[in-house]
């Protein structure tokens, strides 16, 4: 019992307006002002009980570290409290709508976490004898089957570790295919102006020069500009479909045809596959390679910035160049082909040390099997329905970038509706934080002024969408009514106010240094 309240007043009494009230200790009630571990921990403290080491390290002589490392330790209760306190300063999809356009922040089922932690998956060594990991190889084979079926593509490379890694994999396969065909002189990759930054970055990384393709007034690839730029020097085109304006490329089949006629390959950025999964197969659109962000469409958790997974589906023309390793099945069970030899002679190399993000494969597969063919189709339909619903509700107060026709899984607005209010896209987004929502993607795509890109995903209820739109409409009306302070100083109610990013970049402080606060490390105990 913490307080016997019989006969004691528990009704609020007295006090003044809470606005401007601050605590004496710097925290805000349950939101603690939490120090760094370096300011909390002890240099001799540890939160792990280990058996005493049986032998010294004298055989290693002068290879042994002499200076202290400089790592503080925390007891278990201190560590738990520290990280739980920190966690409470984060927004999360489990707390509220997280409408980051192009990021597909959907619900992450906990069943998937449970499955990935089965000892038969989580406690498997990547180089354990293949006869002891047949179930893991079978899972990779089944995942590959689902990905190939859903995309209508004949092959998939599972090993890329994220979307951009998948782009790299796809472009390396394209380059290898060109070289094998005596077309290694092709040096250009065409990228629409609305592309994700990773597309030109990846193309440049592989040594291609990047040429931009213009966009039409209705937010699509300008076919005439594409046709004019498709020369014998072009190795590939990289197109996101649905594109980053949230629109389906109506002329996608023509884009593929023109690209192939010019001897180039069609790379599709699959970041937005969620909008079409179960309804449209990229293989039917002429795509040669496409990465699939398992952390978007197939709901593996974003984890505060990774780990992701970016398997790449490949057309028959590119399949022989896929990187090792991959799984093949035979009457003797499954086999992991790990080297670029024999049946893998044309493989372009290796994307990473092992076989890819197995932990993500298990989660994505559990997600797919849970949905099935019917559920996945419903995913695309509900994602598109939710985005169009938001577009319909917000269009009277905000300005849709492409008002004509439906959008796909995300609704794009420009900032023309904020003209003369003194409020910017950034201010508006920061004010959303005070209303309990994560801001939408801002200032992207670059082709729309002050862009606000809203992707609700299919895992939002109508009630939550209504609540979200009501909040945004109220904010929009406040902006138009001249309530500028609400925006310029926002957020007021977040764990921190707006942060000085310029200061951070001008004088980078990237690590804690002894002397910042706390004490200098003591010497390590003698052996």
């Amino acid at each position: 019992m913490t307080m016997l309240n019989v006969g004691r007043p528990t009704r609020p009494e007295g006090g003044s307006d809470a606005v401007g009230h601050t605590s004496l200790s710097g925290g805000r009630g349950l939101l603690q002002d939490e120090p760094l571990i370096f300011e909390l921990g002890g240099w001799q403290k540890t939160g792990v009980d280990l058996p005493a080491p049986g032998q010294d390290a004298s055989d290693l002589g002068d290879l042994v570290r002499s200076a202290p490392i400089g790592l503080p330790g925390l007891s278990e209760p201190e560590a738990m409290r520290h990280y739980v306190r920190l966690s409470q300063k984060n927004h999360a999809i489990d707390l509220a709508l997280y409408p980051l356009g192009s990021c597909t922040m959907k619900h992450n089922p906990r069943l998937n976490e449970k499955m990935a932690r089965l000892a038969g998956f989580g406690d498997l060594h990547p180089l354990a004898p293949q006869s002891t990991v047949q179930g893991a190889l079978a899972l990779m084979d089944r995942l590959a089957h689902w990905l190939k079926t859903l995309t209508g593509m004949p092959a998939v490379a599972l090993s890329p570790k994220a979307g951009a890694h998948g782009e790299l994999c796809g472009l390396l396969a394209i380059r290898a295919a060109h070289e094998a065909a005596g077309q290694g002189h092709r040096r250009t990759v065409l990228v629409p102006t609305s592309a994700h930054g990773t597309n030109p970055a990846t193309a440049a990384f592989v040594g291609y020069s990047v040429v931009e393709i213009a966009q039409t007034d209705d937010g699509r690839v300008d076919i005439a500009d594409l046709a004019a730029k498709l020369s014998p020097d072009v190795a590939a085109i990289m197109v996101t479909n649905p594109n980053t304006c949230g629109l389906f490329e109506r002329d996608v089949i023509e884009i593929g045809r023109l690209t192939h006629e010019a001897g180039a390959y069609f790379y599709c950025d699959g970041a937005n596959f969620n909008a079409i999964v179960g309804r449209v197969r990229p293989g039917d659109l002429g795509v040669d390679a496409m990465h699939i962000n398992l952390h978007k469409t197939f709901s593996t958790p974003h984890g505060g910035g990774g780990p992701g997974a970016g398997p790449v589906v490949l057309s028959a023309a590119l399949a022989p160049f896929a990187p090792a390793p991959w799984v093949v099945s035979s009457e003797n069970g499954f086999k992991l082909v790990e080297e670029a030899e024999d049946e893998a002679a044309q493989a372009f190399g290796r994307m990473s040390a092992f076989h890819g993000q197995m932990g993500m494969f298990v989660r994505a597969y559990a997600y797919m099997v849970s949905h099935g063919a019917d559920g996945l189709r419903q995913v695309a339909e509900d994602a598109v329905l939710n985005a169009n619903y938001i577009k319909a509700l917000l269009s009277p107060v905000m300005s849709p970038a492409f008002p004509e026709g439906p959008c796909m899984h995300e609704a794009l607005f420009d900032d023309s509706w904020l003209d003369d209010t003194g409020v910017t896209t950034l201010d508006f987004a920061k004010a959303m934080i005070d209303e309990g929502f994560h801001p939408m993607t801002m200032y992207f795509p670059l082709v729309v002024h002050g862009a606000m890109l809203i992707e609700p995903t299919e895992t939002e209820s109508k009630q939550e969408l209504d609540r979200f739109c009501e909040a945004l409409i109220a904010l929009a009306n406040a902006a138009k009514a001249g309530d500028v302070d609400r925006f310029k100083g926002a957020p007021y109610l977040a764990p921190l106010r707006r942060l000085d990013e310029t200061l951070a970049a001008r004088k980078p402080r990237l690590t804690w240094r002894p002397g910042d606060k706390g004490v200098a490390p003591a010497p390590l105990a003698a052996e």
């Binding site: 300063k89 992450n108 990773t198 389906f248 505060g304 970049a505």
Partner: protein, 447 residues
Amino acid sequence: MRYLPLTPADRAEMLATIGVATIDDLFVDVPQAARRRDLFDLPLHAGELEVERELSALAAMNRPAGAGPFFCGAGAYRHHVPATVDHIIQRSEFLTSYTPYQPEIAQGTLQVLFEFQSQVAALTGLDVANASMYDGSTACAEAVMMAQRVTRRKKAVLSGGLHPHYAATTQTIAHAEGMDIVRQGVAIDAEAAVLEAIDADTACVVVQTPNVFGVVTDMTKIAEAAHAAGALLIVVTTETVSYGLLKSPGEMGADIAVAEGQSIGNGLNFGGPYVGLFACREKLVRQMPGRLCGETVDADGRRGFVLTLSTREQHIRREKATSNICTNSGLCALAFTIHLSLLGQTGLRELAAINHGKARELRDALAAVPGVEVLTPRFFNEFAIRVKGDAAQVVESLLADGVVAGVPFSRLDPAAGLDDVLLVAATETTTSDHIKAFAQALAGRTA
């Protein structure tokens, strides 16, 4: 379907609000030829119980590392992870948040990244670290390309002691960017040969300690030679626990250190997700790949953290970025940071000493088996042995005794001609009974 909140009534009402008759009206931009009217040829949705049954059956076909005597290492190590770690990383606020681009509501993730960077810098003995990479092998490739940007030279010398998968990954990725990759011959004491390969065209030298055969080497002389030639030294480590006992890369003169961080906080997971560590000297920071978290203040003057120096990154710089990488390995980095916060330098030192002791116990037991030759002179928790005959066949035959004997070197590099070499590792999870079982089984087979 349990993950989809909309009811048929919701959908009808929403379509009416939008002003269309059917869902198909929202897909009108898809060309007729590409519209799939029928369901795909895949099973229909399944309940939680059914999904658990299918996946549990697949999991049951595998032999987990913890099922008995197990000695595989070679870039992935079985360590005990405190229960606290897995609890915290499953908190919604960490698990289901995005990259912290809105710092006011992401201070949890950002402060963890700052702590992670500080820990990695301390471990490696270098000034700054980034907020993690995909894994050790891709971090290695990125380090080599960073050396090209720093030195404006194209040649990278990879020691023959570098994990062959790291060398292959680096060759694939850095070669794609136009670098000349010189892979030296595989040898147990490969480090000695590195010195001769350094010349005025060399951008960097990549060495590993403990190397793929477990050999621990002081890289100080190689650092001196590299620096004299204007090249950078990149030191790779695949077993992060070794930092607890061994001289750090920074102490030995490394300019860049990269490592696989899986050993701390992260399970084996059949090869991924893992967490790449990347640290360098302060003066190189603007050429560093990957995300960086930095300290700053908010509008009220309170300390806070933000992603910074993003002008290096792809989403700002597009084709002029230092790397095409968009994501890091946030949740694995969180697990790493929590586990290392629990260990502290005291616990890490003890853990490293236990690992080293277990490996020496294993070495003594295997060295006593007739026909077995221990090849690695000085090691941390992993070493190479020569067996009679083909090491892969030895591993297969010992499975019948319930022993997973290690990684045959031929699995990493079939062309090296080291078919009789077996890599074996021991950690704090290895028991004396496991070691005895291994030695007895091996003796039984060679007898």
